[in-house]
Symmetry: C2
Subunit: 352 residues, 2 copies
């Protein structure tokens, strides 16, 4: 598969099951090859060998039917940004060169970064709240790989990783959530503070260190040491279900007590998205998030949350530049983004 084909394919979390409050679930495992230096310390030849070894293993795995491998030194800056925006690679991998690669299954739901911070970062993503089934599927891929490759493992600590924060399970489970109801009811900050105080990590949609847009957050576990994978997954699943309950409750009260405010919020977002001629990435996410809530509460016609996810993705800077085939200035992107959004939402209507 070429990168151009990959871009024409929906990402794994885009499907009819991507509805409501939980947008997608993801689990990633960090693994390293026994006896080999971590990628940060390895020489180029050692990295290339590890990369080649992994690629061979993946080609034989049934889940990686039609596997594609993208070596970082062969990708343009725009292609890397596209992969970043699809959450298939990290910005750390994007900065690597020869010997670092992304290996991805055709439906993009399982992917592996080779020689990022660790030798292997294996991830599986699914739409909706699906942590338990994702764990089963990624655990089986991990076991398949372990038949061919010896992982660095300590009986006392568990899997060994380049950064101590991943030692143990090497597992990070995360859920992408749309929490605009709580935001509009003024209850979001307290809820997110509650999550961090019990040891979960919360970050905005555009990655670590960026301000949050669209009240879309990724909630994930922090601890990898002294807990089993099943425990981590079960705890996160339980907390996410509680959070979904809070969000549903906030939405119900929003409809009941602040109907005009909600209607105004959704209608304005629709108005801006269908009329603006310059639209920044952040504002676009904010407005699409409001429209998504509008779809969920029945204020918007001829639109699905799946379509909203698609518009959010294809209007990211990398995707826009890939479409045009060249680097663009911020104003050029804002102009194209507005035009793409107007076009994609042409048939959408407000119920009132």
């Amino acid at each position: 598969m070429y990168i151009d084909q990959l871009i024409d394919t929906p990402v794994a979390w885009m499907s009819r099951r991507n509805t409501g409050i939980v947008i997608s679930s993801r689990i990633r495992l960090a693994r390293n090859v026994k006896g080999a230096a971590f990628p940060g310390w390895a020489g180029e030849n050692e990295s290339i060998k590890i990369c080649t070894d992994f690629e061979k293993v993946f080609e034989q795995l049934p889940l990686f039917d039609d596997v594609s491998s993208f070596e970082m030194d062969k990708l343009s800056a725009i292609d890397k940004q596209v992969l970043l925006e699809r959450n298939l690679i990290s910005s750390e991998l994007a900065q690597k060169g020869k010997g670092s690669a992304l290996v991805v299954a055709e439906d993009q739901h399982v992917a592996a970064m080779i020689n990022e911070e660790d030798h292997l970062r294996l991830q599986a993503v699914r739409p909706g709240l699906n942590l338990k089934s994702i764990w089963k599927s990624i655990d089986s891929v991990d076991s398949e790989i372990e038949k061919d490759i010896d992982f660095a493992f300590s009986a006392e600590l568990g899997y060994l990783t380049a950064c101590p924060s991943n030692v143990g399970t090497g597992l990070r489970a995360s859920v992408m959530m749309h929490l605009l109801g709580m935001k509009l009811m003024g209850e979001l900050d307290a809820a997110l503070n509650g999550l961090t105080s019990i040891g979960l990590a919360v970050r905005g949609i555009l990655g670590e260190g960026t301000k949050s847009f669209g009240s879309i957050f990724q909630v994930s576990n922090q601890s990898t040491l002294g807990v089993s994978e099943e425990e981590v997954v079960k705890t996160l699943d339980k907390l996410v279900r509680e959070l979904v309950g809070h969000e549903q409750n906030a939405r119900a009260r929003l409809v009941e007590q602040k109907g005009n405010y909600l209607l105004d919020h959704v209608a304005r977002a629709f108005a801006v998205l269908t009329h603006a001629h310059l639209l920044s990435s952040g504002e676009s996410i904010d407005m699409l998030s409001a429209l998504r809530l509008g779809v969920d509460v029945g204020l918007v016609k001829n639109l699905t949350v799946l379509k909203i996810s698609e518009v959010m993705l294809v209007t990211q800077p990398g995707h826009l530049q890939k479409q045009v085939g060249r680097t663009m200035t911020e104003e050029e992107r804002d102009y194209l983004r507005a035009s793409v959004v107007r076009d994609k939402l042409q048939k959408v209507k407000l119920v009132k």
Copy 2:
């Protein structure tokens, strides 16, 4: 004329000539009756007598055909607010009771406040830049009145007034201007600072001490002492023409250099005005101001600046409450305002 009829009548600055950058011109004269105490010091009976005397004089003036008199003690709070929003009375007059009145000609272009700060505040308003003709017309009304009433006058100082800042000519000439082009080009603050540094007063559309909305400003003279009426009018007229030139220049550069930004600004304003369900007074003026610029530069169809002025006026808090016939909360007003605006702009279209 009853106040309900007055509200159904366009205000004097609303006419087909209300186009472009100068919305309206206004001149007011402050006069006091010789030998009588200023309103702030006079007793109720003395005020009532002066009020009656003036009303009789106005009834005989040809310009005040179909004159109407509104005594402050007989008006409801909402009615007073309506008159305030039409610039027919000041908030100072609105706070007065028995013995204070507004006298207004049917077309509302000449009006007089009796027993506000001075015994007589005579004003004339016209759409567009019309200071010289307004001066002629108000000067002739002033002379007519002076045939019947002796004004307090000093050969050395000129007309005597309650506040020293009006002594001399008692004349305040002002022009309401729409300066959004300079605002969007980032040149407005410098221009307004320039005006105040040469002795002009500048205030926002919603009156003294309020933040400015819609880049609509009233520019007026400060000095009344040691200058002739003709000089004041001539100087202000000249400066306003210069300012109009700057604004035209800014708009031309906006169209030429920042076309997308301008298009985006106008389209967003249109979008919000035609979709919002809660619209504050200030935001409404901001958005209508952007739409007015859109009309002026040819980006908007099926809309005149006259219609925009009408919408700005009838969506002011007093006018909305007068329409409903009762006091409303801010949210009720914002909801009704949004609905009135959507209705009034139903047929408006963007060119692109």
